[in-house]
Structure formats: C-alpha cells, structure tokens
Symmetry: C2
C-alpha cells in the first residue's frame, strides 16, 4: 500500500516497488473503456532502468527517497511506455515485453489512442508536481521533443545503408539517452541539488543511455534472434541500421547491397549476422560503448556523495554487464 | 512581427492574427527533419474557434489581450492539430482542411510521430507559462485525457447502430467540448477571473462545443458530401454513428441493417442521407442543438462585462449560423 502523504519518505531499497505499484494503480484507475488495454499493459513490466536512475539520484543521505520522486519515476516509466506503444506501431512489432504488443493485440488505431492516453497520464502526474518545480517542467517537454526527433530520424534513415556513425549517435541520443538524462537530472533536482549539479547528473544519465542503446544494438548481432510464427524480431528485419552494421559496412561495403534486399529470409539474416561479427562490427561497437563506459565511470567517481556513487555505479555495472 | 515582450498587450481584434503567426513560427522553427511535414501543416489553417474563444474570454476591459493568452491560444490550436493528425490515422482520412492529411501524404508512421511532436510543442508552450499558473496545469492534462477518452469511445462505438444518445453525447463531450471548455476556462484564468467565474466560462465553452459538434454532425446529412477519387468524406463512410442517424433509427429501426452493410456505395449513402432527413433525424438533432444554444445564450447574458458578452455572443452566433 502506497502512502500518499507527500511528506513521507520511503527507503530507497523499497522505492522501486512503490513506483511499480503506483504505475499499476495509475493505469488501472481509468475509465472502463480503457481497462482492457491497461490490464494488458500492466501484465508485464520492463527493466525500470529509467525509474531506477531517477530514484537512486534522488536518494537523500539517509537512504530515503521522497514521494515526489516516486511519482516522477512512475511518470517517466509511463512516458517510456507511451513511446513503446507508438514505436510498435511504427515498427509493426508483434511482441513487446514477452507478450503481444498493443498494436498487434488491439490494432493500430487503438494503439495510437492508447499511446496518447499514456502521454496524458504522464503529463497529468508531472503537472501535479509542477507547482513545486515550476521552471523544471520544460525539461520534461524538451526530453519528449528529443525523443520524437530521434524516432523520426530513425524512421527516415530506415534501410539507409549510408547512415553515418554521427547520425546513428544522434538517433540513439534522442530515442534513448534523452530519457535517461531526464531521469538523472530530475532525481537530482528532487534531491535538492543545484542546477549545475543536476545538469552534471543529467550528463551521466545521457552517457548511460548511449551505453545501454549501443549494447542493446550489439545484442542483436550476438545471440540467437527471436523467431515467432508471425515475425522475426531483429533490427535487420525491421530495416533498422545500427552501429555494428555500420562498422561492418566500413570493412566490406559490398554487404550494403545484401542488406538492401527487400524482405530478408531467416538464413540471409543469419548470414549477415555472422558476417558482421566476423568483420569486427560488434567488437568495434563494443569498443565505442566501452569508451562511454570509462568516461561515465570517471564522472560517477567524481560525485561527492559516497553512497550515491556506489549505488549509481551498481546500475552502470548492471547496464554494462547485463547487455553483453 | 510578434512582440515577445510578455508584458506587452495587444488589441483583441489583432490577437488572432498574432496567434496564427505564433503557430506558424513555432511549427516552422524545428529541426530540419520535421520541416517538410510542418511546412505541409502550416499551409492551411482551420477555423481557429478554440483560439478565438480563449482570446475573447481573456480580453481585459480596455479590449486588450496578454501575450500569455496569445501563447495559450496557439498552444490550444496546436493541441487541436495534434488530435486531428492522429484522428486522421484512426479514420484513415485522405484529406484535412482542403489538402492531403498527414497520414495520406507522409504515411501512418510519420503521422504517429508528427502528432506526438505536436503534443510536445503544446506541452512545451504551456510549461513555459506554468510558473505563473502552477495549479492550472492539471486542467490541460485533464482536457487532454478527456479527448483521448472521447476518441476511444467513438472508435469503440464505430458502426454500433445501437449507440444511445447518452453515449453519443459522452463521445462529443470528450472529443470536442473538452477543448472548447478548456479554451474559455483558460481565457478566464488569464484575464484574472476567480476560479468560480472561470469554471462558469468553462461551462459556456463546453456547451458551445456541444452545439458546434451536433451542427457539424448534422451538416453531413444536409448538403452534398465530398467525393474525391480516393474517398468519400462522410461519417457514414467512416462508420461513425451520429445524432441525426440515431434519431432516424428511433423512427425506423429497419434502417440499422442498411447502415451495417460493409462498404456503402455512393448511391446507398445518398439514399440513407435522404431517409435520415425524411425521418426527421436532422431536425430532431437541430432541436437538441437549439436547446444547448438557448441555455448558452442565457449563460452569456448573465456575464457582468458587457463588451465580453457581446463578443462571446458573436462567436456563438458564428457557430450557430455557420454550420447550418
């Protein structure tokens, strides 16, 4: 049971649980017309990385987080969920978090409205806090705008075998790092940090996002990819060009023509994956992620609060080790 | 050229022009990746009813409106535009405001991102003002939520020939009146009205929205409907059940079966339109609109400020006479 007394603080260790409960409550307390979709959406939760980053950054010296931080973390995860629901329309993704995506279960049209509704939920939670942080609200809208720009940039570069590393980094900076950055910036603001310190935290979050996304993109070229009856869940099948592939193109430009083929078959995808690995595309991408990792580690080490340093490092290690 | 000095007020008569200029500027000042869509969207503007209602309500006794009101009115029109862009995905509409819809010109996927981006723009404009009106922001998110509920309700009742008048009114209350209400409420808040007076203005706005939407739905059963090469622009062709049709079903339930036919041909649509008119569906719907009109007129007459009374009445007459 969440204590809605906003002055009440809760232990950092129990705060993620509180966030998840609040997300469920917020989504399920809805007009009955939305209840089926919301039931579906609350079946599975994600990794909650964004919430975790906000919570850890907002923790006070006694190891407690405020109810405001719990609300902000829930709002951030709901915003993330909204982008996923709309993303799945754009990518025509069949599955999400191990179950059917909203677009495949309820159709594209309901998925559009559902995503909009989740944006509203996030906006509504954030606006309840706005009286206390009137000049920080624009950070939220600015991050949301960056996400849209990242999405559109990715969409426009779909199947673009000439995508540059620079433009790839621009895409992931928008679609992933903007929200990671907002998470840590917001946490710092909520913990009472100065604007300068909060911006520094935001930059740590940004880099964590870059690491997370590059590793996530590498993962597609490492393990076995998911094949279900209906779809192949792999960036190549969705014409999304990512870093390992871009690096592989450097080594063997002839690979471009094979990727440009419409509707790659499963053996073709497997062949390309093997070639990308053999050409060193994955290891080069991992090298870039490692550069971000080393920089981020240094930034974290420079933080004055020892406990926070430790806890943020743990999340960094989780991101770093979890994905490869 | 808009004067961005927020303390500067401008004449009510020139304020709509300022709003339109600000909308264009806001949409065109964007990352180049969005420029083509934004160019397209700023080619044609709508009726600006929401902006007009906000501006007129915010006017001070000397006939001036604040720059904040101009920004809020622009934000409201951009929010409206966002809902139209997503609506057109849901309705698969080919045209909007006399030109191709975003979804038909740029595809559904870009339309999803474009609508999201417009939401962000609105949110960003509103959040810049939030420091001054910290506790009013939730009205914005609440109206946005109502719009989503209205959209989903309409979608779920698509082709539902048993749609009740009550549920029809719930749909249009969400999809149209929520924003009209927000416009007049916000205008009143910006003009310094008390919360109670602002709520009263909001209720006037709500009723204006109901009148507007009922008349708009009647218009589909009055004139000639638009037929282009690609599509028939009529509620019947989109399976949207509206008031004139619901009333006609009361008189002749056998009509339901004809409407339920998949893919009505143009002669079939024409036949149904004629029958709805002959059964008195349109005139009954107009009667209900008139009831709203009479109530709204009375509410406007009770307003203390004579000039505002006059100007708001003018917009009511415009809505009342414009649409039928």
């Amino acid at each position: 049971m969440i204590n809605h007394n906003l002055s009440e603080k809760i232990e950092y260790k129990r705060s993620l649980e509180a966030v998840n409960l609040l997300i469920k409550q917020s989504l399920l307390q809805t007009d009955e017309i939305f209840s089926e979709i919301m039931q579906h959406l609350t079946q599975e939760s994600g990794k909650n990385l964004r919430a975790m980053l906000l919570l850890v950054t907002s923790t006070d010296e006694d190891g407690f987080v405020s109810q405001n931080a719990v609300v902000a973390a829930a709002a951030l995860e709901i915003l993330h969920l909204a982008t996923l629901v709309h993303d799945d329309i754009i990518d025509e993704a069949q599955t999400r978090r191990g179950q059917l995506s909203v677009q495949s279960r309820f159709g594209k049209k309901q998925a559009v409205i559902c995503g909009d509704y989740l944006f509203c939920k996030c906006f509504s939670m954030v606006s309840e806090m706005s009286a206390e942080y009137p000049d920080k609200l624009k950070e939220f809208s600015s991050a949301m705008t960056k996400i849209c720009l990242g999405e559109l940039r990715q969409f426009k570069h779909n199947a673009d075998t000439d995508l540059s590393v620079r433009n790839y980094l621009k895409i992931i900076a928008g679609k992933t790092s903007a929200l990671f950055s907002l998470a840590m910036y917001s946490g710092a603001v909520l913990s009472g940090d100065s604007e300068k310190d909060a911006r520094f935290m935001g930059r740590i979050g940004f880099k964590m996002g870059m690491i997370f996304q590059i590793l996530d993109d590498c993962a597609d070229y490492e393990g076995n990819f998911e094949v279900s009856k209906k779809s192949v869940k792999h960036d190549l099948a969705e014409d999304v060009i990512t870093l390992p592939l871009i690096y592989a193109f450097f080594k063997n430009p002839a690979l471009k023509a094979r990727v440009q083929d419409q509707q790659l078959s499963i053996p073709e995808i497997n062949d390309i994956i093997t070639e990308v690995k053999n050409l060193g595309g994955v290891s080069m991408a991992l090298d870039l992620a490692e550069k971000y990792y080393i920089k981020t580690k240094k930034m974290i080490e420079s933080l004055p609060d020892q406990k926070k340093r430790l806890e943020i490092s743990k999340i960094l290690e989780k991101i770093w080790k979890g994905a490869h």
